[in-house]
Amino acid sequence: MLRRRKRTEAMFKIVGIGSLALAIGTLALLFGALVVEGASRIDWQFLTSFPSRRAMQAGVLPALVGSSLIMLVTAVVGIPLGVAAAIYLEEYARRTWLTELIEVTVTNLAGVPSIIFGLLALGLFVYILGLGASILTAGLTLALLILPVVIVTTREAIRAIPVQIREAAFALGATKWQTVSHHVLPYSAAGILTGIILSLSRAIGETAPIVTIGALTFIAFLPPAPFTDQPPFLSFEWLMSPFTVMPIQMFAWVSRPGADFASNAAAAGLLLVCMTFAMNGLAIYVRYRMRKRVSW
């Protein structure tokens, strides 16, 4: 009987490892498929060309520029808002119904499907505020989308700072904000940074909300440059420019029949996956370094 039990035990271990292997194998298969189909398409021409009716002349330049600019808007808006909200909830908020309400909405927003954020943006930013399907609209939409992620990860990082640190600062006469800005934030910076990187890596791959606000799939121009030769040398016209992003470009190519466009799609997908993996790898590394260094 003992032997039978040991055998079932061993069999379960194999099943467990097998199911994990299946998950990880799928990841490998997915990556492999992208490499086989798309790696040969990625060259200088692909990175610096506009989309084209002819698959072999098409490229991702507007999509790369669009993605970068939108990430810029998302980061500038979403990160300060998220970090500030987290600081408020962890350090300032008293237990009131309002705090409770804020916490419930944060949890809730984290579970809202991304396409609903697209509908929000379509109704609010595109029509009510009249911003159109612009870089600004897309950036604000993704900023709202990453807000709950930034808040949750920042709160976790802040909560890990021992309360004695705060008490020591208060004992020396520091105000609340001095305590937060001189001690709590610097000590939790690595944790916050991890959350920020992960949230941006999620935002860069988001497709559904951007499709919903009406992004174009075929863009043969770049947004106006942010720098001009006239004073004041800075121009924010690009914020209102139409755009495309990497996931939308890939979507456009996937939806088109023909093996050439499929391989363009794979190439765009490969770039996208490499970007998100690089960001995730960076986040894992920051977290690992942080764990090693911190000893309270």
């Binding site: 992208l34 105000t175 799609a265």
Partner: protein, 318 residues
């Protein structure tokens, strides 16, 4: 030495501000603190504002929709053809598509996720766990559009070698891919739930001679039930809201069927389809995506609430 001390005391007394100056400084400081606190509070309110705006927009646009389409037709009509000359607005076909793809996803994610989580929580060494978890995180980080490509151009062709009459657009392929997609979430939530089960329960089980596997199945899993259910429910919520995979690989035609081998549009796929076209603002087609979005929001909201209540429960027990 004395001189130095005297000089220092001089220095200190020279810098000693008057009482009035201290008061003024304290006031300025308090004002600054208040400004900062208010700023932080406003930032925290953004998520409340976002939630309220989402609800307001979904409801107000849907209201316009339900002025034209009676609610009873919306819920019982078996056709969804809003862009045809003779339009029908029955949500059932879209709902069926969403349910079928999510069910296929769950059939993949629940067994694989539970077994993987049991293995990680009860059998694997902590080093194995620490290596595997980041890889699973990567699986969860792949953009959904890439999963859509994978479903359409890798999984479906592979399935077609098994069933040669499987159409190029079908719900089976994307359903399986959705299952893989929600797997990391299901594994990590299930594992959390099982690791929250106190060690004493396991030790008690070992003490009466149970093996690890018996302990896992008969003690840990039952003790973690509410946490496991929470993991599945939150997985469902994610599957229901998944958009790009189904929009790319399940087809765009609303089709009231329970057969996963057929193509069918989901709620999310319909929204994408309309958004890609150029429907004028305020038209019934434009409003219809908000009505569809409202159904989706209500569904995911219900699942999320249920999931969080279940999660809270297992946290409270231990």
């Amino acid at each position: 030495m004395d001189k130095a001390v005297a000089a220092m005391q001089d220095g200190i007394s020279a810098r000693q501000p008057t009482v009035a100056a201290i008061g003024a400084r304290r006031k300025a400081r308090q004002r600054r603190e208040l400004v900062i606190e208010s700023g932080l509070f406003l930032a925290a309110l953004v998520s409340v504002a976002a939630t309220v705006t989402i609800l307001a927009i979904l409801f107000s646009e849907s209201l316009g929709f339900f002025k034209t389409v009676p609610l009873i037709d919306f819920l019982t009509d078996t056709l969804w053809t809003p862009l045809f000359a003779n339009p029908h607005y029955g949500i059932l076909p879209l709902l069926a598509g969403t349910v079928v793809t999510s069910m296929v996803g769950l059939l993949v994610a629940i067994p694989l996720g539970t077994v993987s989580a049991i293995y990680l929580s009860e059998f694997a060494s902590s080093r194995t766990r620490e290596t595997i978890k980041p890889v699973l995180e990567l699986l969860g980080a792949v953009p959904t559009i890439v999963y859509g490509y994978f479903a359409l151009l890798v999984v479906t062709p592979a399935l077609q070698t098994l069933w040669s009459d499987l159409p190029g657009f079908n719900m089976l392929g994307p359903g399986i891919v959705i299952g893989i997609m929600i797997l990391p979430l299901v594994i990590s939530l299930s594992e959390d739930a099982m690791r929250a089960v106190p060690m004493v329960l396991r030790e008690g089980s070992y003490a009466v001679g149970a093996t690890r596997l018996q302990t896992a199945w008969r003690v840990v899993v039952p003790a973690a039930t509410s946490g496991l259910v929470a993991a599945y429910v939150l997985g469902v919520s994610r599957a229901v809201g998944e958009t790009m995979v189904v929009a790319i690989a399940a087809g765009q035609n609303p089709n009231l069927t329970w057969n996963p081998m057929e193509p069918a549009a989901t709620i999310t796929a319909y929204i994408v389809q309309v958004a890609l076209g150029d429907l004028p603002h305020g038209s019934i087609g434009y409003q219809s995506i908000f009505a569809a979005g409202l159904v989706l929001a209500v569904m995911t909201f219900a699942f999320n609430m249920l999931g969080h209540i279940m999660r809270k429960r297992f946290r409270e027990i231990y």
